[in-house]
Symmetry: C2
Subunit: 436 residues, 2 copies
């Protein structure tokens, strides 16, 4: 069968990984795909550096547009990132009738609706396994493996940098700032870590998973984002005393009132498998109505794991590129005319349990006041511990609530903060059982 | 698009689950598949019982051959089990040009080579996601998700009954016999549990995964099987003291000398995610050269989880049944002419670490004798604990070895058992780090 020609745009860490995997595993890949897959042309401004990464036999150009316009290229791999020039290149590749494989979560979360519509018109495929959770084949699992299910919710540890930081904070008792500095030294965090630690990256990935799980358009704008940068090591310790681990989760749930789409630090019972996913590793827990809970775990970043997903997409596309589009799996799992614009639930309407830490001055009756305010807001308490000694003038009340609407939790928190004996803003973390 | 007609053979627990999922999630499934999928005909000897499980709108026949011969049936679902009549039915369905979805691990492990060859000749698909690890889409993950990788090894907890028993033995300190009785009462174990607890079922599933991972024919006959029925609760406790959990693992590894294919109780470091998969749940840990270790977790049995896999296969087959076979994923991941008959490694040649428990009488120098015999067989010791008191006349020496060939371990064990001071056969369990 005719070999498939790959054009690569963006030859950095992951691009080098793709070249390595295609070369090293050429025989295995060809034995599986039933055709040879060869990297024909690659684009990077610095041609010499690209040469070192992709080897002698690949044509190298400085201008990525030369790749999308190249007549021999069957599949374009976009690893440039961002949503400016990458968007232009992907749209042009589609216009040129080329299939696209991309790892660009931001591009899809922000412009996926447009890109998939164009691809549909032109009858080409846009594959994006590498955009979510690196090497883990989670897109394939959600889109094909769970196709018999109504997917109820997904909870993912989908940002390795944040998970590394949270793991170190717990294991070493270190502060966010100290661990961040270490992560930067190790290359696990960028010089500007905002994108990772404030939840943007996880939000992009979550947006893509929600679209596939529920058959809705991409709607990153509606995603609630709360990062880990203000997380206090004390809360990780207290959570542990109560039997919980704190993880930055991307959570999406389909409820009768709308779809939840939220990224925030979350307490998870320590017995859950996902609570024990540590370091830079990723995991996605998905609940289907037939299959129940199911978890997918692996490396969420890195040259070779990400290349594993990119090349798996290439094999999939290579198999189906000459087939009638009706034989293909729809980009967003559901047929394009079957997407539903379900309402996105505002954060105020989301139902969750809460961890609250309240700093109080030594005054008789303060606990009674707090519990009264919670009761007035229909919030019942699941557990309560008191830290520090009231006799020394201050103490901390740490409590876990049952499930209530965020609006109620906010009202109760505002009322508690208005108490004279409450000395600081209340620390509030959300808590998920992840069992049903 | 034309609806797809399903013919179901075997309407028991899982068959009822398939009918339920197809009905309950008909809208979601059709929105994904782009065509309606309807259960048209079902076969079960007891027609009344079948009627209760599949509902009024499905034709019911007593003779399963009426399903495979039915002109309107596009896809035959085989849920009868076993390898006698099920084999006949599957081969006849293929001969009739029908696509087949099956959950029958035994049939494929024993007769898969013949079945896939016939399917290839007739240009039909045989899909079998439900045959391994129930609802977990592990076949899809290994075959498509990891297609860029040289898969190095797979380790799976793939028998829920055994995992339930081991979990209860550990958590309650109960004996195998007591927990088995409880499992039978709960419906987690059959009246004759041999198939589950002696590793046959896991061996069938492992055989299928090895074929897909390494591109080799099915070779269940070469699979080493050792079950959990003779496992002593003491060894689970001692393993835990040393930082390990005991799991019944199916293990397959591609080495330079051949393919390992073995099922046995295995010590795993307690920090590994897979060591914490408890109860009836299943998990498969696969290591690819690009992706690294990756884990898939979920329900390995049960009506709805298994139906989740069966119906996902139906959707896959429905999409591709009218496509040119070159657009399909090969049954065993590799193109049929690209399978390699790699040698299977005899158990004597397998390299592993070992847990040994040696019962000794009180005699000065017995430890020196044991360590000398190990050294003579080039076996070094990683950890050693002594249980019981030598002063009371007997003691147990528990030790962990470094990695050696099973042949060496056997020789050392035989020599140790020949010592006058060794009172019982040595208990030997294998140990795997599962980290590279």
């Amino acid at each position: 069968m005719k070999p498939i020609n790959i054009g690569l745009m963006g030859v950095g860490t992951v691009g080098g990984g793709v070249a390595t995997v295609l070369k090293r595993n050429a025989e295995e890949i060809s034995r599986r795909a039933g055709r040879d897959i060869r990297l024909t042309i690659a684009a990077r401004r610095n041609v010499e550096q690209a040469r070192e990464l992709v080897g002698e036999e690949v044509a190298i150009v400085a201008d990525a547009f030369a790749v999308v316009d190249h007549p021999d290229v069957d599949i374009v791999v976009e690893l440039i990132g961002g949503d400016t020039v990458a968007k232009e290149l992907v749209l042009r590749a589609i216009a040129n009738g080329k299939h696209v494989v991309t790892a660009n979560k931001k591009l899809l979360a922000l412009h996926g609706n447009e890109i998939f519509a164009r691809a549909q018109e032109k009858g080409v495929m846009v594959a994006f396994e590498a955009a979510v959770a690196g090497g883990i084949p989670i897109i394939k699992a959600l889109r094909e493996g769970l196709s018999a299910n109504r997917i109820e919710w997904i909870a993912g540890i989908i940002n390795g940098t944040s998970n590394f930081i949270l793991t170190e904070m717990r294991e070493k008792g270190a502060s966010f700032a100290d661990v961040l500095a270490e992560a930067q030294r190790l290359g696990y965090a960028e010089a500007d870590p905002t994108f990772d630690v404030e939840g943007h990256d996880a939000g992009h990935k979550l947006t893509i998973m929600a679209a596939i799980a529920f058959g809705i358009p991409m709607n990153f704008g509606a995603c609630y984002l709360e990062g880990i940068s203000r997380l206090d090591g004390r809360d990780i310790r207290y959570a542990e005393e109560l039997g919980y681990r704190v993880k930055l989760l991307g959570l999406t749930r389909c409820t009768e009132d709308g779809v939840e789409l939220r990224v925030h630090p979350t307490l998870i019972p320590e017995g859950r498998l996902i609570a024990n996913v540590n370091g830079v590793m990723n995991a996605v827990l998905a609940k289907g109505d037939a299959i129940g809970p199911t978890l997918y775990y692996g490396a969420g970043a890195g040259a070779l794991p990400t290349a594993s997903a990119v090349v798996a997409d290439i094999v999939d596309v290579a198999r189906l590129m000459t087939a009638d589009p009706e034989h293909r799996v729809p980009h967003l799992a559901f047929q394009p005319d079957q997407l539903k614009d379900l309402p996105l639930l505002p954060m105020d309407e989301v139902v969750s349990s809460y961890y609250l830490r309240i700093s109080v001055t030594d005054r008789a009756g303060v606990l009674a006041e707090i519990t009264r305010l919670l009761a007035e807001n229909d919030i019942s308490i699941e557990a309560l511990i008191q830290k520090g000694s009231l006799s020394e003038g201050t103490a901390e009340v740490v409590l876990l609530t049952h499930r209530v609407k965020e609006r109620q939790a906010n009202a109760a928190i505002a009322a508690i903060e208005a108490l004279a004996s409450v000395t600081c803003p209340v620390v509030r973390l959300r808590m998920e059982e992840l069992n049903g």
